[in-house]
């Protein structure tokens, strides 16, 4: 089931060291990269169908094409390593085991969009991982891989690690840039048309760590080398993660298009202690939950997941067994969202708190059927009425738990 592209070197001892990384193929795409025009690199990535691995699944190449023509303004690549979505722990594997693959991907991507400085925004809690990436960057500077001349070529590239301060919302790309500009991580209003991001009014592109780490393979082996894996619309591979009460939780790279139940039972090792599966939250906690029956039908690619009313998200699955109360699950997650709402928009700031209070009331035994309707009503008010997609994501998960498992809530009602 495993197909290794990004994770190819993860098991090699000292794979994070430059010497070992080079022996195992790192930076081998660079010669070919500089034989191409930047626009050809972008075209190849467009052709490969590479999709963003941070949760949204938006195509990477077309995003690069939104960069305006080169002018006197500096241009930036911003790598989103603010991995904070519950159930998601994949980017840290790249930081820990193959930071040079990330640097190689940054070189390829910066060349494609003509950016001479890249920022890697890493969540504050990942101190060990950001130190590891910084060591790799230092090695790369000393070896002349980055700096004034990238591996002897006429291309300048600086890479800076920027450490976050512990705010989930900074994974939202415009909040991330606000944070990088030294402000609170408040998402920005989105423009009507499609355009690039702006870092101090300079053009910038924001991509997830794993997305950038997927680029060297495309440069080296061409789009065909990537599209031979996965499905037609979801080509390539992804680092899928599984956690919760399963025998072998962890991160495994697979092509898109495998069945979720097979993933759970093979790589995930199946349920712990022979327990029965109750539900899976598919791709980080912000995706609509799937019941055990729905899991049987679920296929791990973007389109298939949309077809069954959920999303693939970050590919980080949280498995829930028969002994767990779904009310506890909802309460745990709403506490997370209430804590992490940035507070900018009223429906999100207040709505998450209201749902938290109502669930507390239900858990204390004082709830009624009317409370479930109120939760759904609050969800409706939160959906589509805020600056960013945080509130719609809360609605997705809470509404799906309440509507798919109403009987579990009802067992708490006294009357």
């Amino acid at each position: 089931m495993i197909t290794k592209i990004v994770s190819k070197n993860f098991d090699i001892p000292n794979s994070h060291k430059l010497e070992v990384a080079k022996q195992n193929g790192r930076y081998s795409s660079i010669e070919k990269l500089f034989s191409m025009n930047p626009s050809d690199v972008t075209a190849e990535v467009v052709k490969s169908g590479l999709r963003g691995k941070g949760g949204g699944g938006a195509a990477c190449g077309p995003k690069w094409e939104l960069m305006p023509p080169v002018d006197e303004r500096p241009r930036y690549l911003i790598v989103n390593g603010d991995e904070s979505e519950p159930g998601t722990f994949k980017d840290r594997q790249i930081f820990q085991y193959d930071p040079h693959l990330l640097i190689e991907g940054i070189i390829c991507s910066c060349y494609a969009i003509s950016a001479n400085h890249a920022y890697i925004y890493i969540r504050g809690e990942y101190k060990f991982f950001s130190d590891r990436v910084q060591e790799a960057i230092n090695e790369a500077y000393e070896a002349g891989i980055i700096g004034e001349k990238v591996m002897g070529h006429n291309f300048k590239l600086d890479i800076t690690v920027h450490r976050g301060g512990g705010a989930y919302i900074c994974g939202e790309k415009s909040a991330l840039i606000e944070s990088l500009e030294g402000k609170r991580g408040h998402p920005r209003l989105k423009p009507h048309g499609k355009e690039c991001e702006w870092f101090f009014d300079n053009p910038a592109t924001v991509n997830n760590v794993e997305t950038i780490a997927s680029v060297p393979n495309i440069v080296e082996n061409g789009a065909e080398g990537y599209t031979k894996y996965g499905t037609e619309k979801s080509p390539g591979t992804m680092l899928f993660a599984i956690s919760g009460p399963v025998k072998t939780p962890g991160v495994y790279e697979m092509q898109y298009g495998n069945k979720m139940i097979d993933f759970l039972n093979t790589l995930g090792g199946g349920m712990r202690e022979g327990k029965k599966l109750k539900a899976i939250i598919p791709g980080g906690s912000s995706c609509p939950i799937l019941t055990a029956n729905e899991v049987e039908k679920a296929v791990l690619d973007y389109e298939s997941m949309w077809d069954i009313g959920s999303t693939l998200g970050t590919g980080g699955m949280i498995v829930i067994d028969e002994d767990t109360s779904m009310v506890d699950v909802a309460k745990n997650l709403i506490e997370f969202y209430h804590h992490e709402s940035c507070g900018q928009c009223t429906p999100c700031r207040e709505g998450t708190g209201w749902i938290d209070k109502i669930l507390k009331k239900i858990l204390s035994g004082d709830g009624s059927k009317e409370d479930l309707n109120t939760i759904l009503d609050v969800c409706n008010t939160m959906n589509g009425k805020t600056i960013c997609v945080f509130a719609p994501a809360v609605k997705d998960i809470i509404q799906s738990i309440v509507t798919k498992f109403p009987e579990e809530f009802e067992t708490y009602f006294k009357n």
Binding site: G87, E125, A167, Y168, F336
Partner: protein, 161 residues
């Protein structure tokens, strides 16, 4: 004038940070991290100092420091335990770990022990779901926690004093 001052090493790091960004405003978070590494918390005096260095008003620094949960806005115990409470950890027994820590050290989340040795925080997802339950101790991740492992780590902290 603020009573806080960077150590010469941190001042050098601060100056290096300034060269890495197109506008000095970006050095806000790196500067607050330097403060916290130096003092173990971010005091109002240090915020005024950072404001002076960045050409900002103190309230602008305060606004940022209070938004990000990792900045300690008051002094805390020497060893900081950040216990993950989010879903995967909850499903794998983080509540048992929490109760054990509470009993062993005698503090609730958000409190520091009287001897100033420990501070316990309950935090949201630390991105270690595959190793649940887990906590970070002084920033280092400890995964697949058991009661024995927690006792061992707490013991090491006590001996370290």
């Amino acid at each position: 004038m603020s009573t806080f001052k960077f150590t010469p090493e941190n001042e050098a790091k601060f100056q290096e940070y300034i060269t890495r960004y197109p506008v000095i405003d970006s050095v806000m978070l790196p500067a607050l991290w330097l403060v916290q590494e130096q003092e173990n918390w971010v005091s109002p005096e240090a915020m005024i100092y950072v404001a002076e260095k960045l050409g900002k008003t103190p309230i602008q620094v305060y606004e940022v420091a209070t938004f990000y949960t990792m900045f300690n806005l008051k002094p805390i115990g020497k060893h900081h335990i950040e216990l993950c409470k989010t879903l995967s950890c909850m499903l794998c027994g983080s509540k048992d770990i929490k109760n054990h820590i509470k009993q062993t050290i005698g503090i609730e989340p958000g409190q520091s022990s009287e001897d100033g040795l420990f501070h316990l925080s309950e935090v949201e997802c630390l991105g270690a779901c595959g190793g649940a339950p887990m906590f970070a101790l002084n920033g280092d991740y400890h995964e697949n926690l058991t009661i024995e492992k927690v006792d061992e780590l707490i013991g090491e902290c006590k001996n370290d004093n």
